[in-house]
Symmetry: C2
Subunit: 113 residues, 2 copies
DNA sequence: TGCCTATATTCGAGACTTCGAATATACTGT
DNA sequence: ACAGTATATTCGAAGTCTCGAATATAGGCA
């Protein structure tokens, strides 16, 4: 695989590597929203929201449209939603494995006594 | 979606947010490999490889097994390979869109003359 | 024009990341 | 025990990220 592709992937992952930005992408899953709505739901400073949106914009993950006073943001591709969905499955798989491992340890200790 | 899930996703993305670590994950796609092999193919310093592997280990993305002198690494879940495959599709979609947009601009300029 | 609301940018402090150099640890074979 | 190979850790410098505070820009409306 060419190096440019790996750099691209790394850049996108970097852009997604913050809980607030993941929350933004998730909130845009079903359509566009004005920044004000995002700020309200995220409960963060306005400047901070703009900064995170600027990161997502610079990587072309979101796109914006002006409507009068406000700026509406939307996802540029549904593929990233797919990625987030896989990550949710991954999370659950990890949880399950971890709990199974804990169960094993308990069993061993029980058997040793 | 709970915040813990978003923090988990952000942590995994962070761990993948480096071309070298993406290369490592890709190299482990078809089975485990000793660190020496990874270093050889990556063409980086031994210490650097160990550091990147340590990041992937700390997030449980890879798992290691000792065999005599060497340490074999392997992926803990095929789900991350799925993620990387989607990212490849995403990359191509972006490329295509960008080229289409460039074509549009050219057409407009041509029409304006 | 002047004021209000919505969004963006700049700045600086503190935290985090990345690298190679140096060093530490662990296993193998003699 | 010693030498050699494989891997891990520590350190410090340079770079990057994140936040709130302050400020800038732009649209809407009196």
């Amino acid at each position: 695989m060419p190096d440019a592709l790996r750099r691209f992937k790394a850049d996108i992952f970097q852009a997604l590597a913050h809980p607030t930005r993941i929350a933004i992408v998730e909130m845009l899953r079903d359509g566009d929203l004005p920044e004000g709505k995002l700020i309200e739901r995220l409960g963060i400073e306005q400047a901070n929201a703009s900064q995170h949106l600027s990161v997502l914009r610079s990587k072309q993950i979101v796109v914006n449209r002006k409507d009068g006073n406000q700026v509406f943001y939307s996802l540029r591709s549904p593929l990233l939603i797919e990625v987030l969905d896989i990550m949710r499955r991954y999370f659950h798989a990890q949880l399950t494995e971890t709990m199974a491992a804990l169960g094993e340890i308990e069993k061993e200790h029980g058997a040793a006594r």
